[in-house]
Symmetry: C4
Subunit: 289 residues, 4 copies
């Protein structure tokens, strides 16, 4: 296994990239875990806050700073809130694929996963009129067969792996898929999410702690020329004080000349243009353990 290059070239004067991405899970994540959660009116209303209140607030923040971003949308969310999803696209943001019902993909066969991918694609195309080029696995759970499924469906990039500070070309047979890595520390879910019997232990952090931690990692990524990819969920970070903390970070990133703030799709196109040699993530061989 070869250690990957430490960084990649960025456009113009940029020394690093930053993307403020959003996963519009809404009710889908909860329903995927247990269809029975549909009977819980309060829990459903908690998730609905995302598209109803969080998304409009976030769109205004992004507009105030003149940036566009990427919204990963489960097909079910698109069908349930078509106007909301169209309003996101109408502002110039990228709509990307995030499963149909935010399904747990771990352990699914390629055939089962293909059905879900196609169902999600169909929903997004029906609602937005265009086909997404980006994918993020629900729960960031990519299977070893997933890259080929994505490549076969014409996706340009995935954003679900965690083994680098910057994007790379991921080998898929004799071709490749752009991979834009993420990480758990740059996800708002672990910091903020609590819904009894669905997710969380009761830990709910202050936006002060969260914004500090994210800014430190932003500074760290900037120093190493990496790609800072933040993942926020509108049902969580759309709340007033969290949105304000997020806006502080957006403002900071936008104030720096050497940072390229971009949707993930444009980052993937840039990476594709670099003509990088694809590399693999090596699957552990059971014979070795």
């Amino acid at each position: 296994m070869t250690v990957p290059a430490e960084t990649i070239a960025w456009p113009g004067a940029a020394k690093c990239a930053a993307s403020f991405s959003f996963d519009v899970d809404a009710e889908s994540a909860m329903l995927a875990v247990d269809h029975g959660h549909a009977t819980r009116m309060s829990a459903v209303s908690h998730q609905a806050y995302g598209p109803l209140v969080g998304v409009p607030r976030i769109l205004k923040i992004l507009a105030r700073h003149g940036i566009t971003s990427t919204f990963f949308v489960p097909g079910y969310t698109a069908l349930r809130y078509p106007d909301v999803i169209r309003s996101i696209a109408a502002e110039g943001h990228e709509i990307a694929h995030h499963g149909y019902l935010h399904e747990a993909m771990a352990g699914l066969s390629a055939e089962e996963e293909a059905v879900i991918l196609d169902r999600g694609l169909e929903a997004l195309e029906r609602v937005t009129g265009s086909r997404p080029t980006g994918y993020r696995a629900p729960m960031w759970e990519l299977n070893w067969h997933s890259p080929k499924l994505l490549h076969d469906r014409g996706f340009l990039y995935d954003s679900s792996l965690m083994d680098a500070d910057h994007p790379y070309e991921l080998t898929v047979g004799s071709e490749s898929l752009v991979e834009i890595p993420i990480q758990w520390a740059l996800d708002d879910w672990e910091q903020y999410c609590f819904v009894p019997d669905f997710s969380g232990t009761g830990l709910i952090e202050s936006p002060t702690k969260v914004a500090e931690m994210w800014r430190l990692e932003f500074d760290g990524m900037r120093a190493v020329g990496g790609c800072f990819v933040l993942t926020n969920h509108p049902f969580l970070s759309g709340r007033p004080s969290r949105a304000a903390a997020l806006e502080g970070l957006v403002e900071y990133a936008c104030s720096l000349d050497d940072v390229w703030v971009s949707p993930l799709g444009a980052i993937a196109q840039h990476v594709r243009g670099l003509g990088l040699t694809p590399r693999s993530v090596e699957r552990p061989d059971p014979a070795d353990f």
Copy 2:
């Protein structure tokens, strides 16, 4: 599904509202989880701290700042501590409904929930001599049939949903119920509660962190013209340092001319007077997932 209006009109010069509400669960929440907890003398004493020490301390704080508030009281708490509950009412605070034994309502049929609602109503009327107009579901678990049950019993408002920053009229058949939304980040339980084998993982936060987080959300709600609804439990936030932190926030809210500090009942009456068009929370259709 329609995205709701971003804010509503507030009385006079107010640009937002704030309510410091209290859930006087005491022993009820613990006994509802497991009747066997009644055998645990120390655990019972932990819950009893709420009505015995926390409530008197909180009443003094509210009096010092000249405000009234809403206390959600399970029927069992009212019967076990009638003098405490009457002392709350005697100070001009609102007594509202919070189940009989803080029952987990999720999954109950309308008939089962009706029995509990009536038992709680009867207990509150017997102790206070008047019928509550407000309701908050134990664990904030409203069922889809709950709004009709509440409307049928003459309730003006509920405070258990989470899909907006401000109150609204919630459709109930051809009529409506005022809904005053809450949220998990504005609940002291997740921050402070630990009773082995009953609740919590061992996380007990400092009042400094908690007060900071709540103040940020207060500022956020003020900025968007919303309704800040804080939920404290006297057995938790009645402890000296937590009560002091809470008082700091009360003092701050009361110092601002554009904030209407109010019990929830008065907020509900104000909202009712606005003649808003009711809206629904849309129940997920299993056919879609």
Copy 3:
């Protein structure tokens, strides 16, 4: 049920009391949960840090500030570390009862609990040569029959309940036992303890957070004239940085003229001398729920 008095009289110029108590659980707590933990050499060494390193360090801290305190010692700890326990007593500190193997008392019959109490008493008397007058239930789990068992054995006080800010006389038949309340937020276990497969989720707080939280509660207790009772475990708070944070709090308490820093036994004697009217903790009646 009557709301208890808000405070009690303290000796001389003191307006409140503070006691820095220590539970020398060492291996006992772990072995009580599962005898099989005895096979875990590293885990045993983690608990052994308490008597071997933590206790000597804590004794020096207390000596530096000229105060004495109360050490709750399971009988098994006394038999395993007799020299350590005698060194505590030799410095003038109080040795009190904390079960034999830090047994989970919840659900035990009076007969079963009596056997444990007697076994613990016998061990402490054998090692220290004197009979303890104070008791703290392992896990702060007092049963409804426990106070009578303690009173029958000549104990002056217990320190396991949580329904007041200051000590009181707890009714035992026609007589009473002094109760000195504790609380979960003033225990170092939840803040610091992590031993895989024994205790904790992985949360390990910084002494900065812990000392801040405890000082806030100290200030709060001082303001209301209560009794601040801190519970530390030498295997946790005996670590260098935690001990330093604890010493900072001890120093602060000792610097205040209106704070009576005392072992719990002396506090109990003071309370006994006040001639207070005993009160009960009311046992929930299953007929009511």
Copy 4:
């Protein structure tokens, strides 16, 4: 049982020692828990970040401050990433033993543990060309038979116990093994690690909190003349902002004249040269509980 000496002599002007050790678990820890995790491409990539990105970054940090350290490497990691492990050794760092697949050793027989130890030794020797003299049990779980197994295989030291602030000679029959104690608060795993269905509850701390806590314990260890042993995992602390926080601590330690920053192997050799009287960790006797 005898209370151990409070400190030991350190070389030259040093009053304490500090070692920044690294456990290069990578995929092994996850695969040991469940071989099935090998099917999770994203989770595997999360662990692979350690050797691919974390280790090179950490090597640069150590080089910038002119120090060497100890890397505990499971045999499987060495076989999967031989170039990475050789690059560590090439920089003058010590490679030590950490099981083959980071196996849970608790409850294993001496025969089962011996097989694992030998398999790990063989892998390290094959990759690095030399035999390690240091051992750290995966999960810090030493069995009572482990010290003899280590001594029989020629190990000089172990670093898995927790009952002292400084190294000591641990009795093994009529001879001994140097023990260099560690502690849970000086491990980055509990602070940072979250991989769903593998490890963690969702708590992810900010490097600010973590660095503060570690520096406090460093200061505490320095004050008592102990041995500060920090344990970092490159897949966690190799992330940019965490590595920066770690570097801050390294820089601080290196700036102090009375601190001996050293690999563990050199510390063990120093301790061996002191001719200390070995002591035991006493195994609890089931007859006593």
